[in-house]
């Protein structure tokens, strides 16, 4: 993106699309303060999307939310400059978020989500225009062929609940698309596939378009990164670089890859802490490990990285895992097969990357199989098992129903947040987004309780006083 003005004439005077594809950086002059302000406004939108995603919002809720966020943040007092603001803010953030793999991943996923819901809000003809711009030369299925596959298409339409309101395949336009281009529709069995082609209904086209958008943006981000490291950072050392660097650090939540400076978990207290401060997903793994002296790979990763984030040192981790696993497999096999991967998690083997503990989103999306105990219990436990587990944690029957209600609506993180609040008797406004956050907040509350057990009385009084007022 050029912040320096150039005098190239814009080739498109009239048809500026309502939804730009951000193919190339705009050739226009940007005031330095706009540069930053626009970017911050867009970041508010992306951050809002990120929060909503981690709370497991449904597509229809997301659609309203995105449109609301956009209206609230991306206006411009000069209506002719709305598109300009959209484009500029995107390119500024591209610069901000191109610089590491994690930043790129976050930005890519938020921008793609934003694009998806903005696209869905467009009219059918506007959608066709964008398909044209993306070179999606799909032919609609001709009627002779349609007759052959009609029954199958009907079957698919009826089999996927979220297929949209109109299920009359006869009236819907279908496109024949190589299955590779619609991975999400394939993954959800939302399309009929025959001989390598997916039959995509008009209302599903959003998936194709989003895939294209995502791949364009992903490639562009890598290029931007190269440009950033090779020239821009140097050239803009005094002007843009400080803004760019400040922008990225302020908005992404902590990743808990480094344990808190002063927190340290010792082996002696691990059982006590597990019972008081582990979220259900980790408690369950921990108890299973104590019980069976074994966990499958997914479970070892989920629990192991969590413990690392909670402050368990490498030596203690080795001792902890060895004490359990070797009872099942013997000390020799432990040293040979398991010790390596524990050191690996701590960045002492192989690629020597210090691995990050799993976030709720990652855990919710994992796919535990037979014999596995990892994943999010709120999602994978049966009703009965979940009730039993929550009861054991001390969740009362009133709250239990609220938790189960959240689970039924697939708000797993909200269910976990409610559990947290019920057990700790204190609110958690930020919501639970990360098992290590759960752990940290829990420890904070418990320690405060020990230290200030007297002063809480005082707080209660003030609250009551407020309520009366």
């Amino acid at each position: 993106m050029e912040v320096v003005p150039t005098h190239r004439k814009a080739a498109v005077p009239d048809a500026t699309p309502a939804l730009p594809l951000y193919r190339s950086a705009p050739q226009l002059e940007v005031r330095l303060e706009d540069f930053e302000l626009f970017a911050i406004d867009r970041l508010r939108v992306l951050k809002g999307i990120s929060d909503a995603l981690s709370r497991g919002k449904r597509p229809d809720e997301m659609e309203n939310l995105v449109s609301g966020l956009w209206k609230a943040n991306m206006r411009h007092q000069d209506s002719s400059r709305v598109v300009e603001k959209d484009v500029i803010s995107h390119f500024v953030l591209r610069l901000v978020y191109c610089r590491t793999e994690d930043l790129r991943k976050w930005f890519l996923s938020m921008e793609t989500t934003l694009f998806r819901y903005r696209f869905r809000l467009l009219s059918a003809s506007a959608q066709r225009v964008i398909m044209g711009e993306l070179d999606l030369p799909y032919n609609s299925v001709i009627s002779a062929e349609f007759e052959n596959v009609k029954d199958k298409l009907n079957q698919v339409a009826r089999s996927s609940v979220s297929a949209g309101p109109s299920l009359h395949t006869a009236e819907t336009l279908f496109f024949k698309v190589p299955f590779e281009e619609v991975p999400e529709l394939v993954a959800g069995r939302k399309v009929f596939i025959h001989k390598g082609f997916a039959y995509v209904a008009m209302h599903q086209v959003v998936s194709v378009v989003v895939t294209q958008f995502r791949s364009l943006l992903s490639k562009a981000l890598v290029l931007t990164n190269r440009k950033w490291t090779s020239s821009i950072r140097e050239q803009e050392q005094d002007r843009l670089t400080p803004i760019v660097e400040a922008l990225s650090s302020s908005y992404i939540g902590p990743d808990y890859s480094q344990p808190e400076q002063f927190s340290e978990m010792s082996l002696r207290e691990i059982d006590k802490v597990a019972a008081s401060s582990f979220p259900l997903c980790m408690r369950h793994l921990f108890e299973k490990l104590r019980e069976d002296h074994h966990l499958k790979h997914g479970g070892r990763m989920q629990l192991g990285l969590f413990l690392k984030g909670a402050g368990l040192k490498l030596d203690d981790a080795l001792a902890f895992w060895k004490a359990e696993l070797s009872r099942k497999v013997g000390a020799e096999r432990f040293d040979k097969e398991y010790a390596y991967s524990i050191r690996h998690n701590y960045g002492k083997e192989g690629k020597r990357t210090d691995y990050t503990p799993y976030s709720c989103q990652k855990i919710i999306l994992s796919t535990p199989g037979v014999g596995d105990h990892h994943g999010c219990p709120y999602r994978y436990f049966s009703d009965e098992n979940l009730r039993a587990a929550l009861g054991k944690m001390g969740v009362g029957s009133q709250i239990m129903e609220d938790v189960m209600d959240k689970v039924r609506n697939r708000h797993y993180q909200l269910a976990c947040t409610l559990t947290f609040e019920s057990i700790h008797g204190s609110s958690c406004d930020a919501g639970i987004n990360h098992p290590n956050q759960y752990f940290k907040d829990s420890q904070k509350i418990l320690q405060a309780k020990v230290i200030h057990s007297c002063s809480t009385q005082g707080i209660k009084c003030t609250i009551q006083a407020d309520q009366r007022a």
Partner: protein
Amino acid sequence: MTRLEGEGGGDDMAIDGAEPAKPQLCNVPEGFDPNYLKLYYGKLFPYAEIFKWMSYGNDGKHPGCDHTYFGRREFSFTLENDIYLRFQSFSSSSELESSIKEKCPFKIDIGPVYTVDPAKRHAYAKAGDNVFSPVERELIFDIDMTDYDDIRYCCSGADVCLDCWPLMTIAIKVIDTSLRDDFGFNHILWAFSGRRGVHCWVCDLRARRLTNEQRGAIAEYFRVYKGNENNHKKVSLGQVLHPFLVRSYNEVLETFFEERLLPGQKLLETEERFENVLQMIPDESFASDLRGRWQDHRRSSNVKEDINIVRWQQLKHLSKSGKHKAQGLRRCVEEIVFSFTYPRIDMEVSKHMNHLLKAPFCVHPKTGRVCVPIDPDHCEEFDPTAVPTLSSLLRELNMGGPVADHENGWEGTSLSKSIRFFRSSFLQPLLKSCKEEIEASYNTELQQSKNSLSW
């Protein structure tokens, strides 16, 4: 005339024409022995076929051939004592052969084709970022019997028998049909994993170039089974089934369930077992009705008929009868069948390009059985307990006598059927397509460069 000695074979396989020690030769003990393995790699392993396959036509003389192709493929060896040698690469068939013969790996894994020779990845790493990354990899599936432990009562863990093997047959049929009919792939190799499962290699160019996301999508398309240890109901089907599931159910699952698994696994024979099935029924009154009938069934039972089948017919009949008629119950019959039959693939293996998978024709170090290809069109006939073992093959070699002079050591042994099948049903059609693709892409490039020259 040459004779091979089974035990204590030295580096040159103890070929000793002068004094054949007949008596002990035909008597190779069962089991796995590093010395047998040396003989296997020396005489039987089909190097030429593996090389041809992994070259995908790039070893030819056509100017469009990429001669670096085979050399950019990762092989990984597991030696005795679990020593892993990753990122091995070879520039030719003979290099591959001599390295395998020298190192005598207990297991050979095949990885992806990388941008550069994986053995020299460190040299390239210094040059800049992302130079070393996978570019091509077969789409692979790994199905392991241990993932079915909650639904098989005949054996558990590493064991398999003819009562549970139909689960693998089902997996092959369901996935093979879908890969061909739905996804349009043609070059698919199925192989016995050597102990308790099967591997699948989809080798079409289109498959080899899939991104991780696309691989994940195909794996998800196949995934129905979502349960884990903490949920009784392992399969939850929607109101209407996707055509792929309908076809799998009608053509494979239902028949195999009723004819093989129900009687073979005795799924409804004892109270403990039928409770597992009743737990999948959402309607409590329906479940307890059945429970009542099954609990005092003993007196009235017709001795000739299999009790599992009788009970299943009752369940099916009752679910359709007026008393319990409900949409949910019809679906629950299907859900039970899916739970007890539908393939369970190891998702992680299929999702990522850089996952390693054991090469066909390896010998499983625990069972001594060769990882032979399985013909998907006749997979019902495959018997895992009859697969050639290291020792059975060595016995055949020893018995073979003069026949062992063939160019291919495996001629005349029971491995020859497998290698011939690999050649004629998989390799030949594959290489024909590869040749066409190489020619086509060469011609397009030629055309393009001509066009640009004319400017």
